[in-house]
Symmetry: C2
Subunit: 404 residues, 2 copies
């Protein structure tokens, strides 16, 4: 997420990368890490002109016992990071997986007889802290690691792991500090949540965590959250959703704080194949109009082999590349859209409309419904963003009326 | 569990072995299988004159996805089996771990968003079936594999995986048949449950499963189940508990069916170190007096390193050997006790007293409490077994009164 990209001739530095889903054996392949396969996969991404990948170690395979951190598992992550370096790719490492594509990976020391909340229980928190500290201490020295994220959408680990909004925030703050303690000063610390943090009134993870913890606000834009039902694959609500989320994050985190579109994808059936390239173009154009936007990281690099079972159907075909390394049309569309975006100045704040949200979602968590996709405010924002995405500001925080 | 042991000069063939708990990294070591370490561990057991080991692959590390069976994981199991062969040890393979020493290992495709009962859900049962079929088909050809067990005390996977008595029986029968289909005819098929199957009135796994499915009844004798509180570490209830369970299994399975004491150990604090050797001697003498007893497999081979966290305290010190390969006094006591037992004829049925249980626990599951440790019947059995363990028979099954 650095903004000092030295590439000459660009109007603008914008990171361009992918969430790395291995082409063979999905994330199960960590158990049999193969450098040649990983090199072929990352080579696909480098061939698109990407500058980074986001990678996902599997927590219980690194730390199968609370007191058992596997050296080789960490070395496999290091090998992947170095393969990326050879290909000119920087790396963002998500630590606590945790959740990936509907599957939760949780160590046996948090399950059944040992069940205790990842968020609430001091024993488990000690274990998580030890894991995060160990991973960052081991991997921060790799020169091409530019960011650490606590974990991919850790709010998916709830409700199987109980928590409250206050507990979640304290938990994330502790881990952000833990990463900071072991990371290099130039490495970004990131906390990523799926968008219920912004939209769901009873969700025990709030926008404050995304927008104020760590160095950058990360947003994950998935139009299967209801947005695509508003106006279809190419409607402005759908193709503007990434920008909408990014503006909400900025409303919460302030205009100076960078925003990273850490995940965005074109899921079936919401985005039919015939519309996917145009969806990519419009989405990228919309979100990269925002000056606070530092990069786009597509979900995901590679399709999932249909012989892998039990995934939600939409997960199989999200790749830019097939499992046999053929680029899909959206791969080129994405590459071209990012190339265009880098040649274009973002739209200055003063050239954009500004709307005030109906509730201060940072502090009034119950009010989050008022900004959810399909809400009156969201529709107003879509209407006001026909040329460029409108700014959003939050109303003043009425502390005395705040149920939080 | 063959009874045609060719060793000359023995009055009797009795298997003598251990449940293999790796000295380094506990079962987490499967993720970094090291042949040299395994050879040193199994060498300890061979040095005691053992003839077999029982081994425990970890299910979710072999089958992390329902459609993803890892070749290398199976080859690691094969390597361990062949190391055992080199040391003259036969091997019994437990398949579905599942449960080990308070930890449950369950794949992500059975957890959280994918939660479904291992016993009840057809999708998960299909996955388990595929795993069991694959493992047995791959490993049955190893000449020194003498038995397959469905899994270690799979009834510990309940209640996190709901089931009923009928469902559990059908589930186990299906897997016994699956193993039979792929195993050699001389290999035994075993179903192992912890003793709530015999004692707990509301437990949804019953004695029928242990005593009638597969080729041999396996019993797991753990005196921390309440027995040691009856008369202390060296009292007849405590040191006779393995024989009591074995007799209950025979009451349920018939006098012709062999019984394997597949797990027995000397847990702290129930059995203090100062009493452990005598506990071993008395337990072995008592249980090997039974003609149906085919072998004793001690839990376990090696202690657990105290740097491993979250185990119940008693689990750390159950080994015959320390983590640095020193035999503990009970190792020699066990070896000598088995040597003595092999020189001694079991006590013929007609020389033993016989008691009739107060309820037919095969069919009247609610009546199981009447034979639990501390029950009037159990105390009568202990009194009648002062010289040699008394036989047990079940009363006729009163079908019309049977709540099952």
């Amino acid at each position: 997420m650095t903004i000092d990209d030295p590439s000459p001739g660009r109007a603008r530095s914008l990171r361009f990368g992918a969430n790395y889903v291995p082409s063979h054996g999905w994330f199960y392949s960590w158990l049999d890490f193969d450098a040649a396969t990983a090199r072929a996969d990352l080579g696909d991404l480098a061939s698109l002109g990407m500058d980074h990948v986001r990678i996902f170690p599997i927590w219980p395979w690194v730390q199968p016992g609370r007191g058992h951190l596997r050296r080789r598992a960490v070395e496999d992550v290091r090998s992947l990071v170095r393969i990326a370096a050879e290909l000119g790719l920087e790396v963002s490492i998500d630590l606590l997986q945790g959740h990936l594509s509907s599957f939760d990976f949780l160590p046996s020391w948090t399950l059944t007889w040992h069940h205790a909340s990842v968020f609430e229980d001091s024993r488990v928190r000690d274990g998580v802290h030890a894991y995060v500290a160990h991973m960052v201490a081991e991997l921060a020295s790799e020169p091409n690691v530019f960011a650490f994220t606590i974990g991919n959408e850790v709010n998916n680990l709830w409700p199987s792991n109980p928590t409250t909004a206050d507990t979640s925030t304290a938990w994330a703050r502790d881990l952000v500090n833990c990463i900071r303690e072991h990371a290099r000063p130039d490495q970004h610390v990131v906390h990523s949540l799926f968008d219920d943090a912004f939209y769901a009134p009873d969700h025990p993870f709030g926008p404050l965590e995304v927008a104020q913890l760590g160095d950058v606000s990360s947003v994950h834009s998935w139009v299967f959250n209801g947005t695509s039902r508003i106006d279809g694959p190419l409607g402005p609500a759908t193709t503007g959703h990434a920008a909408y989320l990014a503006e909400l994050a900025t409303a919460c985190g302030g205009r100076e704080r960078p925003v990273w579109l850490q995940e965005v994808g074109a899921p079936l059936p919401d985005i039919p194949v015939r519309d996917a390239e145009e969806f990519v173009r419009r989405t990228v154009r919309s979100v990269t109009a925002l000056p606070q936007l530092t990069g786009v990281t597509w979900w995901c690099s590679h399709d999932i082999d249909r012989r892998q079972l039990d995934f939600p159907d939409r997960e199989y075909d999200l790749g830019l590349f097939t499992v046999d390394h053929r680029p899909k049309p959206i791969a080129r569309a994405l590459r071209d859209a990012l190339f265009d975006a880098r040649q274009t100045q973002p739209t200055a704040d003063e050239q954009r409309a500004e709307l005030t949200a109906p509730s201060n979602i940072m502090h009034d968590l119950a009010g989050r419904e008022s900004v959810a996709p399909g809400s009156e405010f969201h529709r107003q924002w879509v209407a006001a963003s026909s040329a460029v995405p409108a700014r959003i500001q939050l109303p003043p925080h009425k502390g005395q009326l705040d149920p939080q």
